[in-house]
């Protein structure tokens, strides 16, 4: 019996969604959810695989957003579909910025690395608030896009979906490549990997830079979608934490984990905020959810479900041969 792979089902569902649900209330939530799922996947592609937990992801999100805003404003682009061309440019700019940041931050490990990424993040936030070309605290306004009513969201939705698919495919390819194996080896024992010929510096920096690309694209899309950016919202410390938490919730280092985490967290956050017009209600939900995860499934939802499913099928088949456990965190596909 051949099963339809999960990703085919997911793509069909996500593609059909805006055709079935046309209410902008829901499609707006969906766009934010896709953006966060993409960022979490991309974050996980470096931090999840290599174990280098970065809390400065918003740097790349913000740089992508400002790239979109600054270029479209200064080149007097009329608001419309051609702005989408700036989305990959936002990604590229973020990548370029990631190179020197990574070269410095990746010299240290674990907690020190985390702290350095946070420090870098605040440097960027402060720069955006205080510089002239960023418009300071007032931010930047992009050209108005003349799309009307319910169809305004649709192009954004599909572009976000396309970037998300790109992020997932990239993450899957990395996981299957020699490069991905080297990242996983670095996570388990960096010095040992070095002693087995892995060029750890180059591998880490490549991973860090690649993961900045997708996040930058999502940031650019965000700026275009809202038409207005403020430094404190595109360089948002909560973004740093949220993206990491999504991956931890779903399954750190797994392909599916950040998708599941992003889907659950971002959609519920958007819905709660919109429904109860209370900006911080979701924080209570987040707190409760994380307690549950830390207590009962510290490796994340995906790994837990997989293990349970495997135990059940093992019992059912009553197989006496050696089971192949889910290669937890590392190998789960």
């Amino acid at each position: 019996m051949k099963q339809t792979p999960w990703w085919v089902l997911a793509i069909v569902v996500f593609t059909l969604f805006p055709l079935v649900v046309t209410n902008p209330f829901w499609t707006t939530i969906a766009i934010f959810t896709l953006i966060y799922m993409g960022c979490a996947t991309s974050w996980n592609m470096f931090s999840g695989y290599s174990g280098y937990v970065s809390l400065g992801t918003a740097i790349f999100y913000g740089c992508g957003a400002y790239t979109m805003a600054l270029i479209s404003i200064h080149s007097h682009m009329p608001g419309g579909a051609e702005q989408f061309l700036l989305v990959p440019v936002g990604g590229l700019v973020s990548m370029v910025i990631a190179v020197p940041l990574g070269a410095v931050a990746l010299r240290v490990r674990r907690h020190t690395f985390v702290v350095i990424t946070i420090a870098f993040f605040f440097v960027f936030q402060l720069a955006a608030i205080n510089a002239n070309f960023t418009g300071g605290p007032a931010g930047l306004s992009l050209q108005l896009i003349g799309w009307q009513g319910n169809s305004y969201n649709t192009p954004f939705y599909y572009v976000a979906l396309a970037i998300l698919v790109f992020a997932v495919v990239l993450s899957a390819l990395v996981r299957r490549s020699r490069f991905g194996l080297q990242l996983l080896a670095i996570r388990d024992d960096e010095d040992r990997a070095l002693g087995l010929g892995v060029k750890v510096k180059a591998v880490k920096l490549t991973g860090y830079t690649l993961s900045a690309f997708t996040v930058g694209m999502m940031g650019a899309l965000y700026a275009m979608f809202l038409g207005q950016i403020y430094p404190q919202f595109v360089f948002d410390p909560v973004f740093d934490v949220t993206v990491a938490l999504m991956a931890f919730l779903g399954g750190f280092g797994t392909l599916l984990g950040p998708l599941v985490g992003g889907l659950i967290l971002e959609s519920s956050q958007q819905w709660l905020t919109a429904t109860y017009s209370n900006g911080s209600l979701y924080l209570i939900l987040f707190g409760a959810l994380f307690l549950v995860v830390v207590l009962f499934m510290p490796q994340g939802i995906v790994v837990k479900v997989k293990d349970m499913w495997m135990k059940r099928s093992l019992k059912a088949s009553d197989d006496s041969s050696i089971p192949t456990p889910a290669t937890v965190t590392g190998g789960a596909k």
């Binding site: 299957r176 490549s177 020699r178 490069f179 991905g180 194996l181 080297q182 996983l184 080896a185 996570r187 388990d188 024992d189 010095d191 040992r192 990997a193 070095l194 002693g195 087995l196 010929g197 892995v198 060029k199 750890v200 180059a202 591998v203 490549t206 280092g253 050696i322 192949t324 456990p325 290669t327 937890v328 965190t329 590392g330 190998g331």
Partner: protein
């Protein structure tokens, strides 16, 4: 026989402690060389200097005529020096066979790793062959963290071998391993040695060292004390002094072992 690996007057201090104080060592091509000495005599530090994990304060290390003093660990490995660690180090969250594949790209450019899959058919076959050689083939798809201590030792040996190094540095291959497995590891080393691999072995199990090695070097307080055939070394009074001088209970047992067998 010619010298393959040579350390000359290597010194290294940690703060006020001279872990290595002008230590020299020769490893001849095709030999099994043993390195013994009381705890803290600098054996592992010497390993770390040779393989690039620790920088030497002075002295030089040459491999096959090339100066490799203070080269990076990945460069040392790429030249053909593989090592295992005293505290066994494997990649615990990836599978056993993936552990084997980490070392396959001995001298591949990092960019190549991006564009190729984890392993080619021949690399995978080669990895499985070595796993079979150490008797772990049936566990290939298991997560490496679930292996027992002895199995980890074997895996560490296997994934070093997969890259086909010329000389292999083993740091206590028999430590904490049961007798049957010790003999098995000894057998494997002998087989590999016959096929042309050179070994440098640090070990506290005297029986293991004396049976296996062609040449033994004794280290004491960061220096090489005596070098010679196992029998010569065993009979040398300087060696006994070195072990007794340590005043450690463990060391006395070692001497007993040395003198008896």
């Amino acid at each position: 026989m010619t010298t393959l690996l040579e350390a000359k007057d290597v010194s290294r201090a940690f703060g006020g402690l001279k872990a290595l104080a002008g230590c020299s060592l020769n490893v001849e091509r095709g030999s099994i060389t043993g390195l013994i000495g009381p705890n803290g005599s600098g054996k592992t530090t010497l390993f770390n200097v040779i393989t690039g994990y620790i920088k030497a304060d002075s002295g030089s290390v040459t491999f096959d005529g090339k100066d490799i003093t203070n080269a990076r660990p990945n460069a040392v490995f790429a030249l053909g020096i593989g090592r295992t660690f005293q505290m066994t180090r494997i990649f615990s969250r990836i599978s056993v066979v993936e552990n084997m594949l980490v070392a396959t790209q001995r001298d591949e450019s990092w960019l190549r790793g991006l564009t190729r899959s984890k392993s080619s058919k021949s690399e995978l076959d080669n990895a499985m062959e070595w796993l079979d050689f150490v008797g772990l083939a049936r566990l290939a798809n298991l997560q490496a963290g679930s292996l027992s201590y002895g199995q980890r030792k074997l895996l560490e040996l296997a994934y070093v071998l997969v890259a086909d190094p010329d000389v292999i540095l083993l740091d206590e291959p028999a430590g904490g391993v049961n007798l049957t497995l010790i003999n098995e590891i000894g057998e494997r080393i002998r087989t590999l040695n016959k096929s042309g691999k050179t070994f440098l072995i640090v070990e506290h199990n005297m029986e293991f060292v004396m049976n296996l090695c062609d040449t033994v070097t004794v280290m004491h307080q960061g220096r090489n004390l005596v070098t010679g055939q196992p029998e010569e070394v065993r009979a040398n009074p300087l060696v006994l002094d070195a072990y007794l001088g340590g005043g450690d209970d463990d060391d006395e047992e070692v001497i007993e072992e040395m003198t008896n067998g």
